[in-house]
Symmetry: C2
Subunit: 318 residues, 2 copies
Amino acid sequence: MIGVVCLNPALDVTHHVAAVDWSGVNRPDGVYARPGGKGLNVARTLHALGVEVLVMGVAGGATGEAVTTGLAALAVPAAFTRVAGETRRTFTVVDGRTGHAAAFNEPGPVVAADGYAEFRDRYASALAGCAAVVLSGSLPPGLAPGSYAELTAMAVAAGVPVLLDAHGDALALGAAAGPAIVKPNLAELETFAGRPLSEAPAVAAAAAELRAAGPQAVVVSLGPGGLYADTGDGCWQAVPPTVVAGNATGAGDAAAAGLAYGLAGGQPWDERLRHAVALGTAAALAPVAGEFNPSDYATLLDATVVTRTMAAAAGEAG
Amino acid sequence: MIGVVCLNPALDVTHHVAAVDWSGVNRPDGVYARPGGKGLNVARTLHALGVEVLVMGVAGGATGEAVTTGLAALAVPAAFTRVAGETRRTFTVVDGRTGHAAAFNEPGPVVAADGYAEFRDRYASALAGCAAVVLSGSLPPGLAPGSYAELTAMAVAAGVPVLLDAHGDALALGAAAGPAIVKPNLAELETFAGRPLSEAPAVAAAAAELRAAGPQAVVVSLGPGGLYADTGDGCWQAVPPTVVAGNATGAGDAAAAGLAYGLAGGQPWDERLRHAVALGTAAALAPVAGEFNPSDYATLLDATVVTRTMAAAAGEAG
């Protein structure tokens, strides 16, 4: 089983409107509501791969209930700790005339110490049954930025490898706790490094810096450029066959799911990266985050090119 | 007790955003969610007046649960029939830079025949305890436009007077079933009459036409112009003391509450109209539909001017 921690899940509500009146009353033609948040996208991707998953996190109010019900309808096992306050909504309006989308993301409930403590107890109990754990997405208000570091340390102590997908302080603190993999995107790696990273050698150097901070491997998602990995088994580049402009959120989460799958199964790095890039690219082609077309995945798996890169690139950071 | 029927309640979600990016990601500073829909505004106003009310309607899904929970938190008694599908959300984005608001109103669940039949049975049972019934707001998808006519006829047969606040076919068909009062606004009366009504005599003529179609009285809400009433006790004009530009939805619903209060208590028309105008104007001054400041109400009650109008105005319709 792979445990997927999602501490700030969301109900993603999308309205399609033929031609939006931004200062009047609109009646949407299409209304969609589904469970969202990065961790849930990872879990849905793993579930679609046939992997046994357990989503763990906190949920509150009627929106938390809607997220729980929605996951149950998708047959994704979840054990949310109920907390006071209301699970967040994200609200997206798609304007049919321009194709533009405006998103309005609520912050999520303020999670009190007792709610987090109850979640942490359940997480500790679940670790014994996990082949790997994914910690993914933003922390809700009220939780300390070191929360992922604490959860990582608990898993490491239990012998369970961790994939951490976070940003800012949560990433920097979590990395120091020794996860198996951290998976920043380019912007998140730039924030960690404190400088723009415009060239491949600069990315490699920053990834090496991040790896030196604690994780066993750093995998940087580069959008249509695929993945760059600095691992205990050298450095790798994995590139999809076609440049895809698509659903970036879904792509990053699907790549994380691919890496977690390989981590749990102990696959060699070239295979992990091949699956992660193929899943990420297939997800970018899908209209909804957390979904992908299996035949796209199969085709992309054959066509993804994985190569070892020169050790010199990583060496620059030393 | 006054029964308030609200067949298409809503969860009104409002996001306040400092400066909206209409093609990007926004993080609202303020998030508000509360039970809404015209019937619920009427019920909240009656409840604030100290009147015993019972909200009856249909609700579904997690959003229906949020509406039910929200009403309970406001201590407004409600008995919703649970139906399949999801109670609607309305979503309003207020742009702090321009002050403009964009609203996105979902249509509501498709209510199947069995759900409506179950509601109707509960409504029939409740009628015995009602001094008056208010039928207010849009009908959800799936319900016949004659639904309000049926509910009106049931109340009339049980000797319970009805206030009907609807528009289009639901108003025209409902009026023929003999409610005590119908309360169109000017636009709704124009739709009924099939012509623009720009002058007071034209309004009076159209109100008389509508009254001839079945209701015992027609009360037209004219926004800041107050109310015009064509009743079994002649024609009346009730005008608030100050011209108020404010919350139009809340104002119309509060005026309906005032009329229902007077209807249940058998007040004379001048008193009913005075209370309705004072409540409507006080509600227009309040930021949230369904609420008003009692001291505004008391002040406005003294200052509202109610006069009988010339019979000639109504006679034009004959």
